[in-house]
C-alpha cells in the first residue's frame, strides 16, 4: 500500500496508522495523548494532518494517530492550516495548564510564548490526555477514570478517595506527559493518590522493591506465587550466579 506524505511515496501496511508511517520515515508529528503502547485516544488533536483521498477529493483534517492508511492517500503534515491549528491548540493548553513544562516547550516550538486566552483559575498540570487511565487499565487495576463531563472533567479515583483498586505500580505517574500525578518514594513507603503503600523489602538485602499489592496483582495475573516477585534485581542476579556456580560444580 502506497501513501504519499509531504510529496514522498511511502510503503505502508494496512493495519498501520498515518502517524506510524510518518514516524517510521522520520517525519516529525507532535503528539500528547498518543502512547504507542496504549489504545489511541484522539483527544489532544495535536497530531492532525491534512488528507485527501486520491489527491482530488476534499481536503480533510484528520488525527494521524487514528487515521488508518489507505492506498493512494495524499497527506500533508505541515501546511499553514495545520501549523495554525497546532499553535492554537497549544495556546489553549497553555491557558489550561500554564506551568506544565512539556506544554510550555511544545508551545514555544510552535511560536506560542504566552497564552492569548484566559488562564484557568487554580490550574493543575493535567491536560486530560487520559494516558494514566488507559495505562492503569492496561496494568489491569482500573483504579482511575475521568469524573464529571466536559471542561469540568478531572482524573480521579472512584468517589474521589477510593484507592482500593490501585496497586501502587506508579505507571500513571511515570507515563504522565506533564508530570501531573504526584508519587513519592521515601524508604520503603510509596505515597500516591493519597494512599501510602508499603514496598516489600528484598528478602536478602532488604532494599525496597515493589508494593505488596503490585506483587499480589502480578501473581494473580501470571499464576506464579507473589514471593517470586519480591527479590531485588541485584540479589536475584547474585542467586543466579550461585546457581550457575552449582551447575559448574567448581
Amino acid at each position: 500500500m502506497i501513501v504519499n506524505i509531504n510529496g514522498r511515496d511511502l510503503l505502508a501496511s494496512p493495519e498501520e496508522t498515518l502517524l506510524q508511517v510518518a514516524r517510521r520515515n522520520g517525519i516529525p508529528i507532535p503528539t500528547l495523548c498518543e502512547h504507542a503502547g496504549l489504545e489511541p485516544w484522539g483527544g489532544c488533536r495535536l497530531c492532525v494532518v491534512e488528507m485527501t483521498r486520491g489527491g482530488t477529493g476534499p481536503v480533510r483534517v484528520v488525527p494521524s494517530c487514528l487515521q488508518p492508511v489507505e492506498d493512494g492517500l495524499r497527506v500533508e503534515t505541515h501546511t499553514p492550516r495545520i501549523l495554525r491549528i497546532r499553535a492554537v491548540l497549544l495556546d489553549l493548553l497553555l491557558a489550561r495548564t500554564p506551568d506544565a513544562r512539556r506544554i510550555q516547550e511544545l508551545a514555544l516550538e510552535h511560536g506560542v510564548k504566552r497564552t492569548s486566552f484566559v488562564p484557568r483559575r487554580d490550574p493543575d498540570k493535567c491536560i486530560l490526555c487520559n494516558i494514566c487511565v488507559r495505562a492503569c487499565a492496561a496494568v489491569g487495576a482500573d483504579a482511575l477514570g475521568t469524573a464529571g463531563r466536559g471542561a469540568a472533567g478531572r482524573i480521579s479515583l472512584p468517589f474521589g478517595d477510593d484507592a482500593s483498586a490501585c496497586v501502587g505500580c506508579g505507571a500513571c505517574a511515570l507515563s504522565c506527559p506533564t508530570g501531573a500525578i504526584e508519587m513519592t518514594d521515601r524508604g520503603s513507603e510509596r505515597r500516591i493518590w493519597g494512599r501510602t503503600f508499603q514496598r516489600l523489602p528484598c528478602p536478602s538485602c532488604g532494599a525496597p522493591t515493589l508494593t505488596r499489592e503490585h506483587a499480589a496483582h502480578l501473581a494473580g495475573r501470571s499464576g506464579l506465587p507473589a514471593e517470586s516477585f519480591g527479590a531485588c534485581e541485584r540479589c536475584r542476579r547474585e542467586q543466579a550466579s550461585r546457581l550457575f556456580l552449582d551447575l559448574v560444580g567448581k
Partner: protein
C-alpha cells in the same frame, strides 16, 4: 384480544374486519394525549369526557390520540365525524360539547381557533391555517390513531408495508426502494439512508444491529417525541423493515431520559407487537425474527452523536469515537450497526407502502419527502409543522406560523439546533433542504426552528448556545473542551461590556480551529451559531463592544431599568423588587436606584401600566 397474527393474509383479514367494524358516522371525541396537552390537563379532560359519556349512556367513543402538533393551543379536541376542531378545552366545557356539538352538530364559537391577526374563526381541523398549509404524511397518523392500540394502527393501514415486503420482496429490493425514494437521514446530516443500509448489509460480521436514535437532544426540537408518543408502531414497523433489509435480528431504541411518556407508549407498543407476532420469532409466519429493546438515555446531549450513542448503549461514558470505522461496518460491540433517527424510521413504511416513485415526487431534487419542523419561539402558532422539502422559511414562519407574536418584527430564525445557525430576514425566501441551509451557514439538523423577534439579542443567543455546548461537551478533545471554554469567556466579555475589537477578532480566529480539529460533530458545528450571528448581525456585536449597548435590551450588564411617567405609584414593583432598589410614596412617581438594581426584570413583568422602560 391478543390473538397472534399468523401470516400476511391473516393480517389483511384482520384489517378488513377492523375497517368494517368502524362506523365512520359514529360520533367520537379525540382528545390529544401528547406531553404538551397532558401538561395542560388533557388526561383530566379525557376522564371527564368518559365519565359524562357513561353517565349519559350515549354511544360516543372517547379516544386518546397522539400529539396533533399544535401544542400551544392545547388541550386539543377533535369531534368526529364532523372533525370540528376545538382548542384550549377545559373539563368545564365537556357537558356543552356533548349537548351541542356531538348531539346536535352545533359549533361552539368560543372554543374555535381564531387567527390572532385576522380574528377569523375556523371550524374544521384541516381549515385551520396552521394545518391547512402542511403536508402531514407522518403527523397525520397522530390525529387518527390511539397510540396504545395496535388495532387502530392496523385499521389505518399499519403493517401493510411489512406484510407485503416480507412476502414479496428480497432484502436488496427493500434497500433499492429506499435508495430510489431518495430518503436521507432526518437526524441532521442527511446521509442517504439507502447507502447506509447497503454499507451495513455488505459489511462482514454478525450479528448486525439496527438502532433508533431517539435522543433528540436539540433544544427546541420535539418532533421525535410526538412521533414516539403518537405513532410508536410506525417506528417499530420501520425498524423491522430496516432489519429485514440489512439482515439484523436485534434492534435498540435509545430514548431520551426526559421523555417518560414516549418510553411508556413505546414499551406498550413493543409488548403489543410481540404478543401479536409482529416482533420476536417468525414474524408473520415468515423465516425472519427480530426484537426490539428500549434503552433510556441518561441526560447527555452528545449521545445524539452515533458513536457516543453506541458507547452509551454498551454501558460506557457517552464519548464519541473516531470514524472510520463507521458504525455501518463496526458499531455496537464492534458489529455492523445501522443508526437512524426516529423520523427516518417512520418514513420507511410510507416508502414501501406507497412506492419509492410516489415518495421521490415529494420535495426537491436533492432532498426528498417531508420534514417535520418544531416551530417555536416568538411565533404565534407554535407547534410541529410537517412540510415537503423545499418549502420556504417565509411559508413556515408566516403562513403556517401565523407571523410574529404581539405584531413585533421578525429578526431571525435559528435552525439546526446548537449545530445550526441563525438566518436573518433576507433568507426568508430560502427553499429549505439539506444543501441550501448548509450553504447559508446553518444546517437542517433535527428540525428545530426557533423564531426570534426584535427583543432577542443575537449575541446573547450565541452565548447561550456556546454555554449549552460547553456544558454538553463530553470533554474528550482539546479544541471542543478548551476551545468552547475560551469562546464562552469571549462571549461573556462581549455581553458584559468588557470587550474590545480584539475580542471579536480572537473569536473569529478560534472558531475555525474548533471546527477543523474537533473529534465529533458537536465540536465541529459548535461555532456555527456564533459565526452565523457575527456574519448576519455584526452591527449588534459592535454595539455591545464599542457602545456598550444591547440593542435588544437583553444583556443585563448593558441595560438600565427606568420608570417613566406612566407610573401610577401603585407600589407593586417596589414591594416585589428583591433588592429593594425602587423607592417612592403611594400614588407618586417611583424611582429605580441603578446601583442596587440587578436588572432581574421583575418590575418590568409585574407592572400593569407599562411604566418600566428597558434600554
Amino acid at each position: 384480544m391478543t390473538r397472534r397474527i399468523t401470516d400476511a393474509a391473516h393480517l389483511e383479514r384482520l384489517r378488513a374486519e377492523l375497517q368494517a367494524a368502524r362506523d365512520p358516522a359514529r360520533s367520537a371525541i379525540a382528545v390529544c394525549a401528547g406531553t404538551g396537552c397532558v401538561a395542560y390537563g388533557s388526561r383530566k379532560l379525557a376522564a371527564a369526557f368518559r365519565d359524562a359519556v357513561t353517565a349519559r349512556r350515549v354511544d360516543v367513543e372517547v379516544r386518546a390520540t397522539g400529539c396533533h402538533g399544535f401544542c400551544e393551543r392545547g388541550p386539543l379536541v377533535v369531534v368526529f365525524p364532523s372533525r370540528i376542531f376545538y382548542q384550549r378545552v377545559q373539563p368545564a366545557d365537556v357537558e356543552e360539547i356533548l349537548d351541542r356539538t356531538v348531539a346536535k352538530g352545533e359549533v361552539i364559537d368560543r372554543l374555535l381557533y381564531a387567527d390572532p391577526t385576522t380574528g377569523r374563526k375556523y371550524v374544521h381541523e384541516d381549515e385551520v391555517p396552521f394545518y391547512a398549509h402542511q403536508h402531514r404524511l407522518i403527523l397525520g397518523f397522530n390525529g387518527k390513531i390511539d397510540p396504545e392500540s395496535l388495532d387502530d394502527y392496523v385499521a389505518n393501514g399499519g403493517y401493510r408495508a411489512l406484510a407485503r415486503t416480507l412476502t414479496s420482496m428480497l432484502p436488496e429490493q427493500v434497500i433499492e426502494a429506499v435508495t430510489k425514494a431518495g430518503l436521507r437521514g432526518r437526524g441532521g446530516a442527511g446521509f442517504p439512508t439507502g447507502r447506509k443500509w447497503a454499507l451495513c448489509r455488505q459489511a462482514l460480521g454478525n450479528p448486525k444491529y439496527v438502532v433508533c436514535n431517539a435522543d433528540e437532544g436539540d433544544p427546541g426540537a420535539f418532533m421525535d417525541r410526538s412521533v414516539l408518543e403518537g405513532n410508536p408502531h410506525g417506528v417499530i414497523e420501520g425498524m423491522i423493515l430496516g432489519a429485514y433489509a440489512i439482515g439484523a435480528h436485534e434492534g435498540y431504541v435509545y430514548v431520551r431520559n426526559e421523555y417518560p411518556l414516549a418510553v411508556e407508549r413505546l414499551s406498550l407498543a413493543v409488548e403489543a407487537a410481540r404478543a401479536r407476532g409482529l416482533l420476536g420469532n417468525n414474524i408473520l409466519g415468515r423465516d425472519f425474527s427480530f426484537d426490539i429493546q428500549i434503552t433510556r438515555g441518561a441526560g447527555a446531549f452528545v449521545c445524539g452523536e452515533e458513536t457516543a450513542l453506541i458507547g452509551s448503549v454498551e454501558g460506557n461514558r457517552g464519548q464519541p469515537r473516531f470514524r472510520p470505522p463507521y458504525p455501518a461496518q463496526s458499531g455496537l460491540w464492534g458489529k455492523p450497526t445501522v443508526i437512524n433517527n426516529v423520523e427516518t424510521w417512520v418514513n420507511v413504511p410510507l416508502i414501501l407502502d406507497r412506492g419509492p416513485d410516489w415518495y421521490a415526487g415529494i420535495g426537491t431534487a436533492g432532498s426528498k419527502g417531508t420534514k417535520i419542523f418544531s416551530l417555536v419561539g416568538k411565533v404565534n402558532n407554535t407547534g410541529l409543522v410537517e412540510v415537503p422539502m423545499g418549502a420556504t422559511l417565509r411559508h413556515i414562519v408566516f403562513e403556517i406560523g401565523g407571523g410574529i407574536r404581539d405584531g413585533r418584527a421578525f429578526k431571525a430564525v435559528q435552525t439546526g439546533g446548537p449545530s445550526g445557525g441563525c438566518l436573518p430576514a433576507e433568507k426568508l425566501d430560502l427553499q429549505i433542504d439539506f444543501e441550501s441551509l448548509t450553504a447559508a451557514g446553518s444546517m437542517m439538523g433535527s428540525g428545530g426552528m426557533i423564531v426570534m423577534d426584535d427583543r432577542t439579542c443575537m449575541v446573547d443567543v450565541a452565548r447561550y448556545f456556546i454555554d449549552f455546548l460547553l456544558e454538553e461537551s463530553c470533554g474528550k478533545c482539546v479544541p471542543c473542551r478548551e476551545g468552547l471554554t475560551q469562546m464562552s469567556h469571549l462571549l461573556h466579555a462581549i455581553t458584559e461590556g468588557r470587550a474590545t475589537d480584539e475580542t471579536l477578532a480572537s473569536l473569529e480566529a478560534l472558531a475555525p480551529v474548533v471546527q477543523d480539529a474537533s473529534l465529533c460533530a458537536l465540536g465541529q458545528t459548535a461555532p456555527n451559531p456564533v459565526l452565523s450571528t457575527i456574519k448576519y448581525f455584526r452591527d449588534e456585536y459592535l454595539a455591545h463592544i464599542r457602545d456598550r449597548r444591547c440593542p435588544a435590551a437583553v444583556c443585563k450588564s448593558l441595560i438600565t431599568y427606568t420608570i417613566n411617567d406612566k407610573c401610577t405609584g401603585c407600589m407593586v414593583c417596589a414591594r416585589q423588587c428583591p433588592e429593594h432598589a425602587i423607592t417612592g410614596e403611594r400614588k407618586k412617581l417611583h424611582v429605580i436606584d441603578p446601583a442596587k438594581c440587578t436588572r432581574c426584570g421583575i418590575c418590568h413583568s409585574v407592572c400593569k401600566f407599562d411604566a418600566v422602560d428597558v434600554r
